[in-house]
């Protein structure tokens, strides 16, 4: 026990002495949370729309007014022909075109099937889909109102869809992004710092010097794990404080659940870092190796894209991805107020992961020396 304390003392001494690293550890979360959360914003606002109004009726005027009033759309100049509008799409001057054909109002009053055309620039598929969704919503609402106003149409059956968004009622994308960025942050600290630190000892030769001391392997490993566990938890706390101050992110669940899960998660990640470092001889190797895993884990975890949209094999593969569990837990705890009873499958999985990666790492370290 005394030996472990001395090892920890040495480790913290080294960490606090490394001023560049120390500053980075505090600057990294602040910058990431400010830049990434704001930049990686998928809220659809200010979609540039170009309208071709061939009808010029009161109905088409009403439609244009509605679009103008919507926060989602930024109505550009009206152009006379469809060809002009398509030209604007090609020149990347507009995102979506609404074509209102001649006789729209006339047709709808005569209960012909009236139609408008939506042309969206689908280079960014998500944006195009959302624009289409919003736009068709507005058009549908208008046509309903129009029909209500028209007494003769009153008899038509109308099904109105009423939707409500739970857990993130304002559809604030930042609430979705921030926990994701926090997960990445904690992972970078856990995986990179620990694996690099261990390989550095190998590279410099201090690992060998330690090997001829009576320090036992498990003591050495605990001495390496604890500092980065502590730093990872501090990073999470720091990130949550920033999230609260800057974005007023909700914290509906229990702090205890989140931090106990984070501890288990960090153990799993540190075990992985340890395993990678036992297989590497240089910091370069371990850096590249960690990066390889980090990138796959991050992209698969559902930070940017919903896991449910992935093919089945990818969803299955995610069972091996520690970030996937953490992503579920942190979003659940912060936004939904999920408790331990809701998240116990994640707790079981990450515990198994931690036990697995740590024992594999220790076994691997034993073998190499």
């Amino acid at each position: 026990m005394r030996t472990i304390l001395f090892l920890l003392q040495k480790e913290f001494l080294q960490i606090f002495r490394n001023k560049v690293m120390l500053r980075l550890m505090f600057v990294l979360p602040v910058v990431q949370l400010i830049v990434l959360v704001n930049a990686a914003n998928m809220d659809m606002k200010n979609i540039r729309i170009t309208i071709v109004d061939a009808d010029k009726s009161s109905m088409s005027q009403r439609l244009i007014q509605d679009l103008d009033a919507s926060p989602f759309f930024e109505v550009g100049v009206l152009v006379p022909t469809k060809a002009d509008a398509i030209d604007l799409i090609k020149r990347n001057k507009t995102d979506v075109v609404l074509y209102i054909p001649y006789m729209l109002q006339h047709d709808s009053q005569l209960s012909h099937k009236p139609s408008v055309q939506i042309i969206a620039d689908a280079v960014d598929a998500t944006r195009a889909q959302l624009a289409y969704g919003y736009l068709s919503g507005i058009v549908r609402r208008l046509s309903l109102q129009w029909q209500v106003a028209d007494v003769t149409m009153l008899q038509l059956s109308k099904i109105q869809v009423v939707s409500s968004f739970w857990f993130n009622p304002e559809l604030n994308f930042k609430y979705y992004m921030l926990p994701g960025i926090l997960v990445i942050l904690v992972t970078i600290i856990g995986l990179f710092l620990s694996s690099m630190n261990l390989v550095r000892e190998k590279e410099v030769g201090t690992a060998e010097q330690m090997n001829v001391t009576p320090v036992k392997k498990y003591q050495f490993i605990i001495g390496k794990l604890v500092p980065f566990l502590v730093i990872g938890i501090i990073e999470l706390a720091l990130g949550l404080i920033i999230g609260h101050l800057l974005y007023n992110i909700p914290f509906d669940g229990s702090i205890a659940v989140l931090f106990s899960f984070t501890t288990l998660y960090l153990l799993a990640i540190l075990g992985l870092g340890l395993l990678l470092s036992s297989r590497s001889e240089t910091q370069q190797q371990v850096m590249l190796l960690s990066y390889f895993f980090l990138l796959i884990f991050v992209m698969m975890s559902g930070v940017f894209t919903a896991v449910e949209n992935m093919p089945l094999w990818a969803q299955k593969l995610n069972y091996l991805n520690p970030l996937y569990y953490f992503m579920n837990v942190i979003r659940g705890v912060l936004l939904k107020g999920s408790g331990f009873m809701d998240l116990w499958p994640e707790f079981v999985s990450i515990s198994a992961y931690a036990i697995g990666s740590l024992s594999l790492a220790i076994w691997s370290y034993r073998k190499t020396s």
């Binding site: 040495k10 030769g205 001391t213 009576p214």
Partner: protein, 301 residues
Amino acid sequence: MITIQNTSKKYGTVKAVDDVSIQVHEGELFGLLGPDGAGKTTLLRMVNSLILPDAGNIQLWGLDPVADYRQVRQIIGYMPGKFSLYTDLTIEENLNFFATVFGTTIAENYHLIKDIYQQIEPFKHRPAGKLSGGMKQKLALSCALIHKPKLLVLDEPTTGVDAVSRQEFWEMLQALKTKGITIIVSTPYMDEARLCDRVALMQDGQIHACDTPANVVAGFGKTILGVKMTNVYKGLTDLRVWKHTDNVYPCGEYLHFIATDSHVDVASVTQYLVSLGHQNIDIVNVNPDIEDCFIELTRTH
């Protein structure tokens, strides 16, 4: 007392250490001499429990570095060939750290390192990475000694060190010996052999001789002639092809010449060289030293 019996270690097909048996006596300064790649480091790493031998048996005062590695690590101090202390910690922090992991304090064994540590103590708040080569070496030696080891294992401590620092370093070792510490030191420098109590000559994983430096030299048993002429290079090639030549090699300003039989003397060598047109021929009798022994031993084995 350290006993190494029939110890071998292979890396792939290379026999790094090949059936080595030597004994190091209590309180002795023992030199392990050999060129780069002889297997010195591998042998030392087996002694200090860092790697496992493929075959053979090593005993340090009855302790086996394989089975009793815990106790062995408690009684040895190891200074690897490459500086391997924490460069971001200061002199004092490094020393303190190694003292604590061995469960001791600087104060407790200060008498052991005093002479060495005092030289670097004025800089004790300087990070180890910012020290000069000589200071690093003194710090490494202090750290290896801080737990009062019975055996000090030094792997090429003087490689890449200037002549004055080498001299100083050997003086430090002599002083440590008087404190009852057994020392095994490996070196590629033959001239350091005379500073050891006993030496083992090692090449290609094998020990070719193991005795006091004087006995190793006494066992040489052949006459060496030092030969000098104007064109030394031509002289070397000419002597190499002579039928009476056993071996000839450059050594300082002279060529060391060993004849196949004792009939060949100064006169006959002179005659041979004159016949080939050599000028300013100077031939002297040379007392063999460790280097001559080493060349002879590695050639005949």
